[in-house]
């Protein structure tokens, strides 16, 4: 019995040293704040999986609009279907499947496009249109008031472009910015 107790305490000390070693190895590069998931808009290929891969019923990925990049085009390729019947807000002309983009007149010939985030499902249809033919001011971001911060992000796993990665929680967004404001 004495021998068994001795072996046990020796193993306990060894395990404690092991735990301490792991802690020492990691504590130096540990961050006091946590990390969150975010999309790198420059890597995003607008594949549309963000809308469906999220563990939430409504994806935490939303379209955001960098107004300082926007050309305020009358024919917005993020807003309108290819070859729209007319350049107005009728539903059949809109690219967005949920009608989450508002189009408002500013001055001739400029229109402003705003996202109604509760309606946005993160399908990236508008992002694709804007990036391919426009300035690319519409882009996807993970919204942290919706995101539940899974340890293993299901969208990151599904992303074909590896565009989703961990960022420090105190700088949780990677907005597209024009060179002047960046």
């Amino acid at each position: 019995m004495k021998r068994r107790a001795f072996v046990r305490s020796a193993a306990r000390v060894a395990a404690a040293i092991g735990l301490g070693g792991v802690l020492a190895g990691l504590v130096r590069k540990a961050t006091s704040g946590g990390t969150v998931w975010q999309i790198d808009p420059w890597k995003c290929t607008q594949c549309g999986r963000c809308a469906t891969a999220c563990v939430l019923e409504q994806s935490a990925v939303k379209c955001v609009h960098s107004f300082d990049l926007c050309g305020y085009c009358r024919l917005c390729t993020g807003y309108f279907e290819p070859q729209p019947n007319a350049l107005n807000t009728a539903a059949e002309n809109q690219l967005c499947p949920t009608g989450a983009i508002f189009r408002t007149f500013v001055e001739d010939p400029y229109y402003e496009y705003t996202i109604n985030e509760p309606l946005c499902v993160g399908c990236a249809k508008c992002v694709k249109g804007c990036t391919m033919f426009g300035n690319g001011s519409l882009h996807l971001q993970i919204r942290h008031d919706v995101c539940v911060h899974c340890n293993d992000c299901a969208i990151a796993r599904a992303c074909p472009a590896d565009a989703i990665h961990r960022v420090p929680a105190d700088q949780p967004y990677q907005f597209k910015r024009s060179r002047e404001t960046a």
Binding site: R8, V148, D170, P172
Partner: protein, 421 residues
């Protein structure tokens, strides 16, 4: 740079007529870091309470109350992330990848329950882990699992632990989180597969005590290993065991080791031979499974994104395949040299073979270790909670007449009692 091009397409307007100001947009921030620190503090306090309830106060009621709190707080309120079970993957990746920083909260969640296990046994499982607490609350009609099945199934968590660590360390993703059955219940959403697994395990858990903890949970396996050398442990009896056998059936998790006083003694000679055979078998198993793992890794790597892409690009470069696919078009648009892709693919395939071999070796060690452990016959005088298997749920306490006497409750007729010292 796509965006420089993009800006040249339509320069942003000046709005000279109306002087229109660009609208801002909401930037909802994630929860503050102090909330993460609060989670860590709650975890430590809950662990201390669980240890006190299980070892000192000996209160099943306290553990149940703490368990309900943990399910509500760590489960439904915090939505299951970060949890200790998953955090060991971050730690493994942090150890393997020097550029991967692990947040302090994740370190606390991963390491503090292990430190507690080193001192008090698996008190984390009893009522702090939301997964364990949820299953513990579900157990209404316990059915005993046959011992042979118990031994067999108990090897799965150890294998799972090794695979998850190797996957996380070699960049294969976090499989523990990916296949977590209960997080879907805490969030009320998830894939059909995982939701049905979660509900299935909960229903199974009405009859079979804690099926996830015993037969799947990799963190439980780790805690079990650490608990075998814990400083203090859960004791069925508060003072002396009289071998009355009243506690024998009280554990729904097969975690009570019977006294070996009355056990039929097999010949020691046969036992020794078996032990020797198992020890000789171990290197054979390690070699065989290591080889098998390497081969499996080789065939699995073909599904990896980079390897697939490199294969496709190679076919295109050599003119064996016409045109491009979606991913090869993206690759070509990025302007990365082909040699870089080939080099990346080589790194990935080497990693797969290494990971496969390591997984094989680990599985062999688990099987061999189990066989050796089964061949060693431990003698013990009293009925005791097994150090590795006991999850400190405190169900057995009130089956002990000594405990009933201590609490001043009626003691069953004819139970042998030792007067309190």
């Amino acid at each position: 740079m796509n965006w420089l091009l993009a800006i040249q397409r339509f320069p942003p307007p000046e709005f000279t007529e109306t002087g229109h100001q660009l609208p801002g947009f909401a930037v909802p921030m994630p929860r503050g870091p102090w909330l993460d620190h609060l989670d860590a503090a709650v975890l430590v306090v809950a662990l201390a309470l669980a240890a006190w309830f299980a070892l000192r106060h000996r209160s099943r009621r306290g553990l149940v109350a703490l368990g309900i709190f943990s399910v509500l707080y760590f489960g439904f309120w915090r939505k299951g992330c970060i949890c200790s079970i998953g955090s060991i993957q971050n730690i493994a990746q942090g150890l393997a990848d020097s550029s991967f920083g692990v947040p302090a909260t994740v370190l606390v969640f991963g390491l503090v329950p292990l430190a507690f296990a080193l001192l008090f046994g698996r008190v984390f499982c009893s009522s702090v882990c939301p997964h364990g607490a949820l299953q513990d609350l579900m157990l209404l009609k316990p059915v005993r699992v046959p011992v042979w099945l118990e031994h067999g199934l108990r090897m799965i968590p150890h294998m799972y632990l090794g695979l998850a660590m190797i996957f996380a360390a070699t960049g294969g993703g976090y499989i523990i989180c990916q296949y977590d059955p209960f997080v879907t219940i805490f969030r009320f959403s998830g894939t059909v597969l995982m939701v049905s697994c979660g509900i299935g395990l909960l229903v199974l858990g009405i009859f079979v005590g804690r099926p996830y903890c015993r037969f799947i949970c990799p963190y439980g396996a780790l805690l079990g290993l650490v608990s075998t050398v814990s400083k203090w442990r859960v004791r069925i009896t508060p003072d002396t065991c009289t071998q009355c056998r009243l506690c024998e059936q009280s554990c729904p998790f097969n975690a009570i080791n019977s006294s070996t006083i009355e056990a039929p003694s097999r010949t020691v000679r046969a036992d020794k031979w078996r032990l020797a055979a198992m020890i000789v078998l171990l290197p054979v198993l390690v070699g065989g499974f290591g080889w098998l793992g390497g081969t499996t890794g080789k065939s699995l790597m073909r599904n990896h994104r980079t390897v697939k892409l490199a294969g496709r690009v190679y076919l295109e470069e050599t003119g064996k395949a016409p045109g491009t696919t979606g991913s090869s078009a993206v690759f070509r648009a990025s302007g990365t040299p082909v040699e870089r892709l080939y080099a990346d693919a080589r790194v990935v395939s080497d990693r797969f073979v290494l990971a496969g071999r390591l997984c094989g070796v680990w599985i062999a060690l688990v099987i061999g270790g189990k066989l050796i452990a089964l061949s060693i016959r431990r003698k013990h005088h009293d009925y005791e909670a097994d150090r590795a298997r006991c999850v400190a749920c405190a169900r057995c306490f009130q089956s002990c007449p000594q405990e009933l006497q201590r609490l001043g409750l009626p003691v069953p007729e004819g139970a042998p009692l030792v007067p309190p010292p």
